[in-house]
Amino acid sequence: MKQSLAVDLAGVRLASPVVAASGCAGTGRELAGLADVRRLGGLVTRSLTFEPSRGWPGPRVAETASGILTGVGLQNPGVREFVAEDLPRLVKAGFPIVASVAGASLQGYIRAASILRDESGFVALEVYLSAPDDENGGLPFYARIDRMAEVVGAVSRLSTVPVFAKLPALLPDLVPAARACVRAGAHGLTLIDAVPGMAVDVRRLRPRLGAVVGGLSGPAIRPIAVAAVFRVAQALPEVPIMGVGGIATAEDAVEFLLAGAWAVQVGTALIVNPSAPTEIAQGIAQYLKAKGLASPGDLRERLRLSGERATRGVSAS
């Protein structure tokens, strides 16, 4: 059987299921010299806010067991500067671009999405929902389902391309939240965002990050991410999911695809190995061949579950 790595996320077509995750691919310029970027299924930009953001002061990274803790604070040049400077270069590189949008208020998201509306060159938008909401006491947007739906709805109405809502894993009502985002207009979901984490320098009695609490990523969070993908995919099988969280090898990626993801994103692994997406894509192709399957999408319904387990997966939401 002829294998193809192409995936179709209900209209968003990618030549490979392996996409570079938001905030881990620089400005698109850095990877070009290091890896075969033509093999990338796509690239999610760093999260773009309407106004430029300098992000958190340092230290911004702390290595922890099987992962890294980061607190960058969405440093980005602002959506207008991005469109003028980085976007043409990214488009020229030839892989599909997903623009990640963030804001500190509903208006912030709307203003950023409005700028992107006038641009071509994106295949989709991703809505980052972990930013602090100035209109809700600085709690993240994901803290309230209605607030998430409001933001996702506003961006979706403005967008001329499909919108993916990026959700954190540790919501007590993850499936209702996912459903609310889809009802509000999201075409698909990105699961999961980095997990809140903190590390302390016991020698100096200080937090190891300038941001104090940051986001944990890397293999440490992979099982959390697989579970989130599984729960949502069981409940919403028609909704395309991009699975992300600690994927470093092809086997890791296949776990997500079996759990119900339509594509995967690779973030932290890129920082360690710029060729990771290419290697993972090649490994997926080999796996498909060994299993006699034609495409990554064929993995989605292959997970062997007893009836009871499948039901429990859904009710656990």
Partner: protein, 291 residues
């Protein structure tokens, strides 16, 4: 920059430090002082970031042509593993990375100041400056004798040299800034280069700004990717027009910076702050900009 599988030619102890020489002609060919290499750690179940090392030596000619050397202080996971590496083992190396030191155009008296393994790039720089006919003087600082970086080599590379140790076990007792003003005056220093920890760089920077001596400093920021992807190793740098500052990546826009444009107060506060300041520019904050 290139990514290569580089063979270790030589791994040896160097006082308290460890030195590794690699066969990496693709990198050695392009390397300039101030630049660094990124080395992958072993693949196992425990995920670990690449480690980054200033290039100490890159040979283009002679018996060592095509090799490059870096020297490091084994401290914790990663560098401890690397300290055990043996000749003929292969490492996954990316380099040369970062912005290099610039050389003065006119014949100049250059004072090179370093502390601990900051001396890595300073020695490489000394060689290149001398090859361009510049005078090189050195001030080498360290905590103690074991951490003084290749003192004999330093003497060979420089016109004059002063060694300063915190415990007085070698050379003068004190810190580099106890001797830099004296040395600069006596040898007629026109340009200063410095590499080392943040606090030491700041004191050198203040002296250079006050004395109007052009200077360049190479920062030692912890880096996660080393290639500009992750924006974690940033240094606050004042814009050319003075309208504010930007957080620039030490790995891409640095590690060499003009010390007159580093926003030292902001950068040093990263080390002392107890309570986090909120992310800047969210909305944009310019009020902390000094008048």
């Amino acid at each position: 920059m290139r990514r290569v599988r580089a063979e270790i030619l030589n791994a040896r102890k160097l006082g308290a430090f460890q030195s590794i020489t690699l066969v990496a002609p693709e990198i050695a060919e392009r390397a300039r002082p101030g630049q660094f290499v990124s080395v992958a750690m072993p693949e196992d179940r425990r995920f670990i970031l690449r480690r980054h090392f200033s290039i100490h030596q890159a040979s283009r000619r002679g018996g060592w042509a095509g090799t490059l050397e870096f020297v490091f202080d084994p401290q914790g996971p990663g560098t401890d593993w690397l300290a055990e590496a043996k000749a003929h083992q292969f490492l996954d190396v990316i380099g040369p990375l970062g912005k290099a030191f610039a050389y003065p155009r006119a014949p100049s008296n250059c004072l090179l100041v370093s502390e601990s393994h900051g001396a890595n790039s300073i020695f490489f720089l000394a060689q290149e400056l001398r090859a361009r006919g510049k005078r090189v003087d050195m001030v080498l600082g360290a905590s103690g004798e074991g951490h003084v970086f290749k003192p004999i080599e330093a003497k060979r590379l420089s016109q004059t040299i002063v060694i300063v140790t915190a415990d007085g076990s070698m050379g003068e007792r004190g810190s580099v800034m106890d001797v830099v003003p004296k040395v600069a005056q006596s040898v007629g220093t026109e340009v200063i280069y410095a590499a080392g920890p943040r606090r030491m760089l700041r004191t050198v920077a203040e002296f250079c700004i006050e004395q109007r001596i052009p200077a360049q400093v190479a920062v030692e920021e912890e880096m996660a990717c080393g290639t500009g992807l992750c924006f974690t190793c940033v240094v606050p740098v004042i814009r050319k027009d003075g309208s504010g500052y930007d957080n620039l990546r030490a790995c891409t826009e640095g590690p060499v910076f003009n010390p007159a444009r580093v926003f030292w107060d902001r950068w040093m506060s990263d080390e002392t702050r107890a309570v986090p300041t909120p992310p800047e520019g969210f909305p944009p904050v310019v009020s902390s900009w000094p008048a």
